[in-house]
């Protein structure tokens, strides 16, 4: 199967400029600089690539929203990878940083941004070191700076480490953080494409999205869109964790059946396919699928959306039959409570309620009506907050009740788990 963002990660010293150049690195940049910015944007539009961070917004379209005025523009790479279950970008950052940097220089040139930032989660200290070393190499080689490849184009790039706040993965929370403030998301509109970092037009893309750009430019948007399926083109890295025999990051074409991903790539479900209980398909905030859904679901944006969940960041969390779903979701609710930035009341208060109720049900202290209370609290969060963190907290609870309601009821009625 074709690989794009991970195609070089198994090479020795793949993180160095020398190795990256030996496999054709920075040739896409050379080609891009012979094209106009609009040509590049059209090529990315043709590729059909959708944002790989979670929202799945078409990247080319996002770039085309940048106004052609004379304000300073910015390009920001979201490397805040924090959605539980997600660790796909980390391998790009530490193994192929130059491919990301090349993608960013191309993107910066396309939207006429002269300054770029990579906002990396603070805990990725070693990854940030790798990235900085690669940036230093790229400056020394003339790929970055005030005269990119001798073409008189400016692009400066810097790493900015976060401080351990999940909410900074939200693009406007990230911008606030990058400006030296608490990472509390902004009300939209205005969108970052118009008013973003330092009030300037700003493109924010995920690591995996930007790392795909060199191949899109080199081989063409049409080539990229021939991979994957309709409206979910190209490849995607799925981080498969939990109860499989070979957990790992697997880059495959979108549209692959989940069962194939688990059985043929991830070594199979622990204890065999029939031992599968459910799968969270796209990171902690995406509603869980039952085994029945897992039998036939394909891993693309539309199929997963139609089935009531999200492809999200591509974090596939596998649970076998030993798992108490109530306990699993209670753990996630605790996470969202911890990470709510406190700005919007429905989220600040609601995540606390969700966590408390989940916890008491899990501990066998739930009371009649608690399940409906959870749904009510979730309903009062969803769509009523500035950013998507509130939705992210509500969806796993609602999804788990929908898929495994009998387990919640058993907990409440019997004061204990039906599984363990």
């Amino acid at each position: 199967m074709t690989k794009i963002v991970y195609k070089h990660i198994h090479l020795e010293n793949s993180h160095t400029l020398a190795v990256y150049k030996s496999v054709g690195g920075y040739q896409a940049l050379e080609k891009a600089l012979t094209l106009s910015g609009d040509d590049i944007i059209d090529e990315v539009k043709r590729s059909g690539i959708r944002g790989r961070g979670g929202a799945g917004f078409p990247a080319g379209l996002k770039w085309s929203f940048i106004p052609k005025d004379d304000r300073a523009k910015y390009l920001v790479c979201n490397a805040d990878e924090g959605e539980p279950g997600t660790c796909k970008d980390r391998d790009i950052l530490r193994y192929v940083p130059h491919q990301l940097i090349e993608g960013m220089i191309i993107a910066g040139y396309a939207v006429r941004a002269e300054r770029g930032y990579i906002y990396i989660r603070g805990e990725f200290y070693r990854e940030a070191e790798r990235l900085q070393a690669a940036i230093d190499e790229a400056y020394a080689a003339g790929y970055l700076g005030d005269n990119v490849m001798g073409r008189g184009i400016r692009f400066d790039l810097a790493v900015h480490r976060g401080g351990g706040a999940y909410v900074c993965g939200e693009e406007t929370g990230l911008i606030e953080s990058l400006e030296g403030k608490k990472g509390q998301p902004r009300l939209k509109p205005p969108f970052p494409a118009n008013i973003g970092l330092y009030g300037g037009p700003t493109v924010i893309n995920n690591v995996e999205t930007l790392t795909s750009v060199p191949d899109i430019i080199m081989n063409g948007g049409a080539w990229y869109s021939s991979l994957g399926v309709d409206k979910s083109t190209g490849t995607k890295v799925f981080a498969v964790s939990g109860h499989v025999n070979k957990p790992g990051n697997y880059e495959v074409e979108l549209g692959i059946p989940l069962k194939v991903l688990l059985e043929e790539y991830a070594g199979g479900v622990r204890g065999g396919w029939d031992n599968l209980k459910g799968v969270i398909p796209g990171g902690a905030s995406s509603p869980v699928f039952t085994k029945t859904v897992c039998e036939t679901i394909t891993m693309d944006y539309d199929a997963i959306g139609k089935a009531g969940s999200m492809l999200g960041s591509g974090a596939v969390i596998v649970m076998d039959r030993s798992v108490c779903i109530v306990r699993a979701i209670a753990r996630l609710s605790r996470f969202y409570r911890h990470e709510s930035c406190g700005q919007c009341s429905p989220c600040r208060e609601g995540t606390g309620w969700l966590s408390q109720i989940m916890q008491r049900i899990e501990q066998g202290k739930g009371v009649r009506g608690d399940i409906d209370l959870l749904l009510s609290v979730a309903g009062n969060i969803q769509g009523k907050t500035i950013c998507a963190l509130g939705d992210a907290a509500a969806m796993p609870v609602v999804g788990a009740i929908r898929a495994f309601r009998e387990e919640f009821e058993y907990h409440v009625e019997h004061g204990r788990c039906m599984v363990a």
Partner: protein
Amino acid sequence: MSELQKSSSGVPPRFSEEAMRQVEVIFQRYPADRRDSAVMPVLHLAQKEFGGWLSQEALDYVAEVVGMPPIRVYEVATFYTMYNLKPVGTYHVQVCTNISCWLCASDEIVRALQNKLQLSFGESSKDGRFTLSEVECLGACVNAPMLQINDDYYENLTPAKVSEIIDQLP
């Protein structure tokens, strides 16, 4: 919200010359009129320079270096969990218990650590060597269970491996 703690040494924190050079490098990453952006990296640097945590005096000093009102620095320092506002041990052991790690038996890792270090979450050893913390997802989920000690990740853990890792720390 946690209260800011005063430094017990009485010595006002000051960056070394080498650290000041790093501050200058940090400043250059941002537009000249956007100095505030440097506050997070300078706080990270200060925490490294001043013994792994940030006293109120350290925050005031960062405010002075960056040129921000101290209250703005307090806001930032209290918002982000990576800034330690009270002393931590030489080794800050942070164990992930979020979903992927939990599915891969992080409970056993937690027990092994608590036994080995004789600490509960949030506690530091009397000799100042260890602090044990529970942490949210650190983004190494396919290598669960995992923990972080200072700047390094330790992955694919077993209780036996945890014990070895602790023993091998210098």
